[in-house]
Amino acid sequence: MTARVVVAGASLGGLRAAERLRAAGWTGAITVVGDEPHMPYNRPPLSKEVLAGSAPFESLAFTPRASAADVRWRLGTRITAARLNERVLTLDGGEELAFDGLVVATGLRARRLRCAGPSGPGSGRHTLRTLADARALRSRLTRPGTRLVVVGAGFIGCEVAATAVGLGVARVTVVDTEPLPMLRPLGELLARALLHRHERRGVRFALGAGVAGFRGDTRITGVALSDGRVLDADVVVEAVGARPNTEWLEGNGLDLTDGVLTDGHLRAGGLAHVVAVGDVARFPNARYDSVPRRVEHWSIPGDAAKCAASTLLAGLAGHPPPPAPFTPLPTFWSDQHDFRLQSFGTPELGTGDIRVLHGDPAGDVVVGHHSGGHLVGVVSLGNPAASAAAARHRARLLSQPSLLPQGAAP
């Protein structure tokens, strides 16, 4: 039997892993197993162009590299269990799938609120993670007179609110327990500027309060907040984060606390034949420090796939991984209304020391986030020129010293 790598997860990370295995010289079989019925597709447009109706669903599919043409895709298939030492996966339906090497790329699923009130299909409660989610939400938002409550003022929540205003949704309110939107990644200065921009464009905010429960019988009629307020609502979007899809890996001795813990080369559990990529991987980034973190940014799966493919092929050959660990420079962007947030580096590590580098928070602005006096992140808010100005600091970010305590092992 020819040797086989199984890639668990058929999203961006799974696709890039398959391509990078070929690029790194793997000539054995590659099987990608994914539980959605679709080939890998691009998710950022779901909360923007797809929800707005300006991009057809079909335009989202990635075009795999020619080198990945012989990859076998097992779509609409869920992995229910794994025996890593025996190198066997169990699929729904009971079939067993043997592997020599495994790439864990099963990503996240939307976290749901647990509180009283209507739930389930038809209740008006939505999440936004998949193509099916975006389709369902769009069909509800395009009904005249809709009142939308978005729970969670993070990336998805703010983008959905902006898109909904653009769609002409009658009332859009964003709820969050934090006092400002996107406070954790941005810090106060930009979060406040973001709040004002949303409010000027018609988004309402109910901040500093959580959801106590939903009103209504079988369908949502309102959202009760922890401070006693009740917001009328026909549609609720729960944008309260995501949970790693790791249940199928339980029982193998891996650290699955908030994703799959890996070493600096993306190996899971010290195993030479198991690596993890994408949102599900919790890895240390020696560019900053030694704390393993999950990074839910679009750029990470592609970056990780390169490193993970080399690590896995070395491991399968009985060699140590290539010397360079995985030290990506994270980047994120978020398009909301007519402006863009663009970030390079890890601004959330430097929210205590934020300095304006260009412009003014009331207009187009670029700020630098610092830790221990070092630049750790650059974020712009505004027009394309502001994003381009932020990008000019990228080389500076790449050359900054690590935040590791002096004398600590990398």
Binding site: N42, S299, G302, W333, D335, P384, A385, S387, A388, A391
Partner: protein, 65 residues
Amino acid sequence: MKVVVDMDKCQNHGQCVFAAPDVFRLDDGAQLVHVSHPDDALRDDVEEAADVCPMQAILIEGSEP
């Protein structure tokens, strides 16, 4: 090798500029411009640029080497 950018999709993120600076750049108005027929020696860079485009707006035409 021919590089085609779907300008209806492109939103000037500039990630391609980092991956393949000899082929892509942002002009003074922060709009993307690119070389249509780059040297085949740049294929790896251009493939990387196509991969990292958040809008997946970059297409590479022409047979693989």
